[in-house]
Amino acid sequence: MTDDGLKTVKKTVDQWRAEADAHEKAGRLDEAEALLAKIIAAKPNYHPAIQQAAVVSWKRKRPLEALARFERAMQLAPDEALYHRNVCEVLRAQGRLDDALAHGLRAVELAPNDSGSHYNLSVIRYDRLEIADGIASLQRALELDPKHASAHFELAEAFLLTGRFREGWEEYEWRFALPNAPPLLPPNDKPLWDGKPMPSGTLMLIGDQGFGDTIQFCRYIPLVAERCPNIIVACSSEMRPIVIQQKGIGQYYDRWENMPAFDAYCSLSGLPRLFDTNPANIPAAIPYVKADAAKSEHWRQRLDALTPPGYRRIALAWAGRPTHGNDFNRSIALNKLSALTALPKIAFVSVQKGEGQNQIGSYFGAAPLINLGVEIEDFTDTMGILANVDRLVTVDTGVAHLAGAMGRPVSILLPFAPDWRWMLDRSDTPWYPTVTLHRQDRPGHWPSAITKLIDTLQG
């Protein structure tokens, strides 16, 4: 093969596209881009290649380029359902929910039997909090493809969000079948625990999903222990100081290779289903997590030295893990909180970890902001800090659960369409009695949530 491209090589355009597709699927995005660019240069109006390039742009995190390419492809082929379906997600991520909806509806109109189109439409409906319409789309998608795991999971979220817990928990079990979901545990021949008492056997509980989920659901461990006295927990080392505080744990393992024999297993996030949890019977023996006394004393001294005396200390976290699928919705730029920083006699204590820390450098609000995130080694430090602040203000991320489990006052800034666990139309949550929820009034509109937060802080 020469590198002169299309003219000298006897390959069809579709063969080239297939090659680009293979690159894309294998994650070789630069190669895919280069190949597609050659095709488009040779055939500028060849819309399948343009749409394929749009997908590559999207994967290369160039949303505006992706959008422009999708628009070009749709201009050339206005009735291609796939293009409308795919552009939905790009528009959604841009917060352009009206446009996303229009294309989602158009995709369904053009391809009424494509389960993917119905599913994509349902995701937009969820973001718009048109939950009934979203559920209808999901049910249509599942009629067409009963094993569509993402649709099942989306349905779980819609049910749980609207308080239909029993149906929700059933659909929630599809989370392990989601594309790219890691296996819950290494292959084994043991059964999934059915929730029945197991007085002699050993039950392994597995901390799955994110840190927040583990903190939220480890509250069930003492209840499990009433049915199964022999509990071993498999969970990450980071979570250990939190999870280990739950009564009834025999042993804690953070590596599969050290795992002893067990007779049945269950994920922590599977426990609400087994306990038939509904909004009225959520176990909330708050606090079920406490800070270590020595750590708490260390951070008390540090905070006394760093924050002005007589100031309210507000711990702050504004960004979740950037790899979280919904991060663009839930995280907020630190400088968007400027209205908050004008409040008198408040000192912010950043517990932000990771990339979000870099925003501290360009924070110039009136209230001092102390970057403690860099001194946090593990969750024992986070707990020690939370024990010594007046309130945590955070977006929907793990630390919100930690403070809630400790019974500390928490304000969570929520996107218009929140995660299912915060439900709808309420500023409290049965999961954590000390948490106040501040919701966006309309999609993407943080000032509306921040105004409510300021009222709470001033009240």
Binding site: A305, L306, P308, P309, G310, Y311, N335, S338, K345, Q357, N358, Q359, I360, G361, S362, Y363, F364, A366, P368, I370, N371, L372, V374, E375, E377
Partner: protein, 608 residues
């Protein structure tokens, strides 16, 4: 091997390189071996005494060709070069004398004086200290220390040495009295300073420098009429002297007689050899024109003043140096590394520092004047100690590396307390300066650009408040451009280099803040002008000091701040100091692309 042709030494001494700056001092023979040349040297001395310079020079060159270490010939040639130039030759010769005989008190004092004259105070200090070591009962040794330490902004140490010198003399010496008076003026001790000037002039009313210094002192103390009288007196001694005219222009400007001041500056220009003003006078002229609302002419004067300053000093922005230091600091101060770097222990007793940082001309002087009006806060002014510690660090931590890499030695078993030592050194130096007033809890350190070393500051003082004064970057750049400043790797001599250094340091500060826990409060100059009380309360609360009304009347703070800002901080806050850049926007266009991102990040806008 190549044989070099005998060439004249580039220092300008008149000797060959091999007998001058290329000389191997170890190869020089003993004085005994050159005794036969002594009659020649005696002859040169005699000729020099009679003013027969050319002949004396020729003999010295001959002697030094044969015996390049001959002290007498070196001394005569040095004096000739010192008088007629070039100065580089004089410096090379006197340095050689000191190197050959470190106990030569005359040569040591000469060298210190020469370096002082060049403005190379740090180097001068070392030799002046040697002079005191060699001859602790010599008046000139102490006088030199007094002069140098005063200029190095350590006037308390300088005062000590002036007073030692006075003790050594059987009678009052007028120049020494005037030197001490200038020193005391720098400490804000105006009454004492005035008395000494009076005494000095009574002893000898014909010393121009004394009258000028006294006039400066009175002007600083806002006795403008008295300053004018003293200048009248000086004028009689030296009619049409440029220094007198300049000082008079400054006085006219301070009483808001801008036309009068401008006319004086124009007369200086006419009197000068080149028909134009020197850099400082030109900048002064620009500032006058600015006050008169003649902005385009003002900017032209700034451009001309900076051009002349650059030409005269040769001090262009050391861009590569600055960039390299910042790069190394960013590489050293990372969250990951800092987890394993020890911190100095918190201060448990005694006054503690309070750092006021910011780019020059951001309002750090105003903030310091405001805060130091508080009964629990002493004013430290621009303390060079942090900078000195960065220089001394390799020695103090016994490290072969330079700062910041020398901090790697904190991991050595015998350097675990290294930061405590650096901290104690800082505190001890601060105490020695005598800046700490009784019953105060904090003392300020407002060295501009100390934010460059914010990482080190936080290691030495993990709990010390750092107040970062912010001001619209275009106002800062404009103001630096209209004043003579040497801070920041000589960035101040051109508009674009000021902007570049501003951005470089702003990025570094952002880096520190995202990588370290700092007790850091940004405060905007504009906000203080807008609502002084809120700003003052915020700063005092951050420090942990109770609110005190005196801070709101900082213009009544009698303390004299040495820096270029002093004439402004003695005036009430003025609104016209905000967003001055708008009048100069067309002139500032070239640096807007450099500054725009940081302007935005700081939350400022660019308005017409």
């Amino acid at each position: 091997m190549t044989v070099q042709a005998p060439t004249a030494c580039p220092c300008g001494s008149g000797l060959r390189v091999a007998r001058c700056c290329g000389l191997d001092l170890a190869a020089i023979g003993t004085g005994e071996a050159t005794r036969h040349l002594l009659p020649l040297v005696d002859r040169a001395i005699a000729l020099h005494g009679k003013g027969e310079i050319a002949e004396a020079t020729k003999i010295c060159l001959d002697v030094l060709e044969l015996a390049p270490g001959q002290g007498g010939a070196l001394a005569i040639l040095y004096q000739v070069r010192r008088q007629t130039g070039p100065l580089s030759a004089a410096e090379a010769l006197i340095r050689r004398m000191v190197a050959l005989n470190p106990n030569n008190i005359w040569a040591t004092q000469e060298l210190a004086l020469l370096l002082f004259g060049k403005g190379d105070f740090a180097d001068a200090e070392g030799h002046a200290r040697n002079a005191v070591r060699i001859a602790p009962d010599d008046v000139q040794s102490h006088n030199l220390m007094g002069m140098i330490m005063t200029e190095l902004n350590r006037p308390q140490v300088g005062e000590y040495h002036y007073r030692e010198a006075l003790k050594l003399l059987p009678h009052k010496q007028p120049i020494l009295l005037a030197n001490l008076a200038w020193n005391l003026k720098n400490q804000g001790k105006m009454a004492e300073s005035r008395a000494l000037y009076g005494e000095s002039v009574a002893l000898d009313p014909t010393i121009l420098q004394t009258l000028l210094g006294w006039a400066r002192m009175e002007e600083t103390d806002r006795n403008f009429a008295r300053a004018d009288e003293l200048l009248d007196q000086a004028e009689k001694l030296a009619p049409n002297n440029q220094s007198i005219l300049l000082q008079r222009a400054i006085v006219r400007s301070r009483v808001k007689d801008y036309d009068g001041a401008l006319a004086l500056l124009d007369s200086i220009a006419k009197l000068s050899r080149t028909g134009t003003l020197g850099p400082n006078e030109m900048l002064e002229k620009g500032r006058l024109l600015d006050k008169m609302g003649r902005f385009d002419e003002a900017f032209a004067a700034f451009v001309e003043g900076k051009r002349a300053a650059l030409e005269l000093s040769g001090n262009a922005y050391l861009e590569a140096h600055a960039a390299q230091l910042v790069e190394r600091l960013k590489r050293y101060f990372t969250a990951e590394r800092l987890k394993i770097v020890p911190r100095a222990k918190p201060i448990t007793s005694g006054p503690r520092p309070l750092f006021i940082v910011g780019f020059p001309r951001s309002g750090t002087t105003m903030v310091e004047q405001t805060l130091s009006a508080h009964p629990k806060i002493s004013a430290g002014d621009e303390l060079t100690i942090v900078n000195d510690i960065t220089e001394l660090m390799p020695r103090m931590l016994n490290s072969p590396l330079a700062y910041p890499e020398a901090l790697a030695d904190l991991w050595m078993g015998d350097q675990r307390e290294g930061l405590d030592n650096l901290r104690d050194y800082y505190l001890q130096r601060a105490r020695q300066l005598g800046i700490i007033e009784p019953k105060t809890v904090w003392f300020t350190d407002k060295m501009p650009l100390n934010e460059t070393h914010m990482g080190l500051i936080a290691l030495m003082f993990p709990e010390a408040p750092i107040i970062h004064v912010l001001r619209h970057p275009l106002d800062v750049v404009l103001s630096v451009f209209s004043n003579h400043l040497t801070h920041g790797f000589y960035c101040a001599n051109a508009l674009d280099t000021i902007a570049k250094h501003y951005v470089l340091i702003a990025d570094l500060v952002e880096h520190y803040r995202s990588q370290m826990t700092l007790k850091y409060l940004p405060i905007r100059y504009e906000d203080i002008v807008d609502d002084q009380e809120s700003g003052v309360r915020r700063m005092l609360e951050f420090i942990g000091a109770a609110f005190d009304k005196r801070c709101l009347n900082f213009d009544e703070n009698t303390r004299y701040a040495r820096t270029a800002s002093y004439a402004q901080v003695t005036e009430k806050l003025y609104d016209s100091s905000r967003y001055r850049y708008r009048r100069y926007l067309s002139h500032l266009r070239p640096v807007i692309p450099i500054l725009e991102p940081v302007i935005k990040r700081l939350g400022y806008t660019i308005d017409d």
